[in-house]
């Protein structure tokens, strides 16, 4: 087994692990119970996708996927901000929707 093969195998393994991580994150997302829990889970999932980008960049030897990571790092933050704002306002309204 050459180092290259090892790398490929570990990338595959890592991808599967990240995939499982996302799936587990999804469980939290689905279970909630509070809005913050869901947002946390969503945030974790996006971060995991950044990881996927990195791993894919390795697998395909292509920098292109790193660009996705950069963009994603920026915008996932935006969605967290928006959802947090939402959560906070909802909490102030003591609106029991979620």
């Amino acid at each position: 087994m050459t180092p290259f093969d090892i790398m490929q195998a570990s990338i595959t393994l890592a991808l599967v692990m990240v995939g499982i991580a996302i799936s587990i994150g999804f469980v939290r997302l689905a279970k909630g119970p509070s809005l913050a829990d869901r947002v946390v889970a969503l945030d974790m999932m996006t971060t995991a996708v950044i990881g996927v980008c990195g791993l894919y960049a390795v697998r395909t030897e292509s920098e292109a996927f790193l660009d996705i990571a950069v963009a994603l790092a920026l915008v996932s933050f935006l969605s967290v901000v928006a959802l947090a704002r939402y959560a906070e306002r909802l909490a102030r309204r003591s609106d029991s929707d979620d």
Partner: protein, 120 residues
Amino acid sequence: METLVACLAGFLVSMAIWLMLSGNLMRFLFGLLLLSNGVNLAILAAGRLTPGAPPLLGASGALPPDTMANALPQALLLTAIVIGFGLFAFALALTIRAYRSFGHLEVDRMRSAEPAEDRR
């Protein structure tokens, strides 16, 4: 690989239709997003899936040795995604306005435009 994506696309479409039929405008919006995603997947699959190699040329336009992913459906997809976003945005604004106008989002109870039949 296409098979899985095809099934996923079909599944998304089913879910989307179910949501769209629910009679609530907000859920219609959710359905719309799902439907767009489903159709996007369909287009992607229709362009055939080539794992890996993004359609980028090497320096000086060198073609990589392996087949690259099909660039054309990707361009179409990009267009479709952005258009879908525009439509979603409008629909969202309309939903807010409808809620302000009617005080609810039950589409079946929005009946100010029709029906009004001949009274004779």
